[in-house]
């Protein structure tokens, strides 16, 4: 196992696992914890989680590859996730995505060379009343337009 995982993380994993009648049920919360510390879930993290919960690594891989929020490789410091579902599309999500791609010089699914931004297009975020909306990591930003996007990008160092 190459990466080092903090003692705090190991302790937290044990705590979370104890909340469930079966350890395996803690898999999603534990993956969230690991991703929060490491930034992504690669093969080493899959093995680490598998060992912590007494699972075969394949059982972890199955889950990591099913859920869109688990990242299998490093991404930028700020993950811009633009909703392009119906309510957001009606109110201009498409042109916001175009604007972001031009402004950042990257396509959807890519990361800027300085490692600051990763741009993703996502399905409904559950904030349709704030359409068009996006998430910066876990922070919701609503009623976006090009000016607001420009100001947002400047505020993210």
């Amino acid at each position: 196992m190459s990466p080092e995982y903090s003692a705090a993380l190991r302790k937290k994993i044990d705590e979370v696992a104890s909340l469930y009648p079966k350890k395996r049920a803690a898999l999603l919360p534990v993956l969230h914890l690991v991703q929060q510390e490491v930034g992504f879930i690669a093969a080493a993290e899959e093995h680490f989680v598998a060992a912590a919960l007494g699972l075969k690594p394949i059982k972890v891989r199955e889950v990591v590859t099913f859920y869109t929020m688990f990242l299998r490789r490093p991404i930028g410091k700020y993950h811009l996730q633009v909703c392009s579902n119906l309510s957001c599309s009606l109110l201009g999500a498409g042109s916001l995505l175009d604007h972001l791609q031009r402004k950042l010089g990257i396509g959807v699914g890519e990361t800027t060379a300085d490692g600051r931004f990763t741009l993703s297009e996502v399905e409904c975020l559950g904030a349709c009343e704030q359409a068009p909306c996006l998430m910066v990591n876990f922070d919701y930003q609503g009623q976006m337009d090009k000016d607001k996007i420009d100001r947002l990008l400047e505020s993210l160092e």
Binding site: A25, L28, N85
Partner: protein, 416 residues
Amino acid sequence: MEEKVLTRHFGVPDLLRIEVYRGQGGYQAAEKALKQMTPAEVLEEVKKASLRGRGGAGFPAGVKWSFVPQNIPKPRYLCVNADEGEPGTFKDRYLLTHNPHLLLEGTILASYAVGIRAAFVYIRGEYETVARRLEGAIAEAYKVGFLGEKIMGTEFNLDVVVHRGAGAYVCGEETALLESLEGKRGYPRLKPPFPASVGLFQCPTVINNVETLSNIPFIIQNGAEWFLKRGLPKDGGTRIFGVSGMVKRPGIYELPLGTKLRAIIFDQAGGMKDGKRLKAVIPGGMSAPILTEEEIDLPMDFDSLVSAGTMLGSAAIIVIDQETSILDVLGVVSRFYAHESCGQCTPCRIGTSWINKIVKRMVRGEGEADDIDSIIRLATNIKGRTLCPLGDAAAMPILSICQKFRRELEGYLRHA
């Protein structure tokens, strides 16, 4: 006039704090139930209130609870469905953000009625901030003895755990939710057996939506009669309608079941944005068949919408304007289901992605003469042929768009 129930206290500052919630009468229903009522009496009251599920299917909550066997030696579980993935839907986020203790009180009452000792709140992964707020509320409830051992000094015990999903629409389907909660891919299960008898960890399980459970304290505190008066004789209570799309005031509107769709759009949500003209409305989340402008003089309740060939679903209303091309709407709908199909059932896995490919071709201006009929054939082949309702949820809006807007769609074909 229109009396709010669930959102009544939303303006109260710091409502998410337990002492503020208690100051508004919070936890009195739980105390009443735990100290003065038997579990059977709580269940009976909820049954009488005709509270239909607010997640989408509209199944009566009390009836669902009564399916849980009480005579087998296994633990029983409650899963709170806070996955809220249906496009257009954001009501549960409001309930959880503004009034998390209301949900906890409903959770206590449901657990008491069914004899449950452990509840899990399955919340969509993106609602990370909301989940932390809910965990804060849970910690407060433990501190004052409203959760944990011997709640309120009675013999009733209950633990509540918040469990975050990780981005999969299908996990809002109740058996996929159970699989996900068990640490697996969110693959829906074959039913029967239903979760009431074989659910989480193979044990009897109740799964209720956030809004459904948030209604329970009011039913217990004020009685089923009071609750029925706020809705319709067969559908008790109010409904939180979420309005989004091309309207002046998008947001949530708590109104009696049976309020007219046109009134919700034009009176409550302020009508069309920027003087645009209404073209179509999706009345119950993206899975609900679309309605044309001529069809929106409808009372918004479960049965009226079924009679109109659509459904109330999650009561999420998406308003589409004349300038929006129906092909673009179809493009978003078909992309969404192709992306979210879990891949277990062939008609859904292959059907949704073929439909998406055909629609993309039409968007590029390369649609062929028989493309619309191909989409209809593929969607019809999905309908009723999948383990879970996601197949129908994909087929229904796609079929309704093809049928009601066929002429416009034909205009986008290559040889039109």
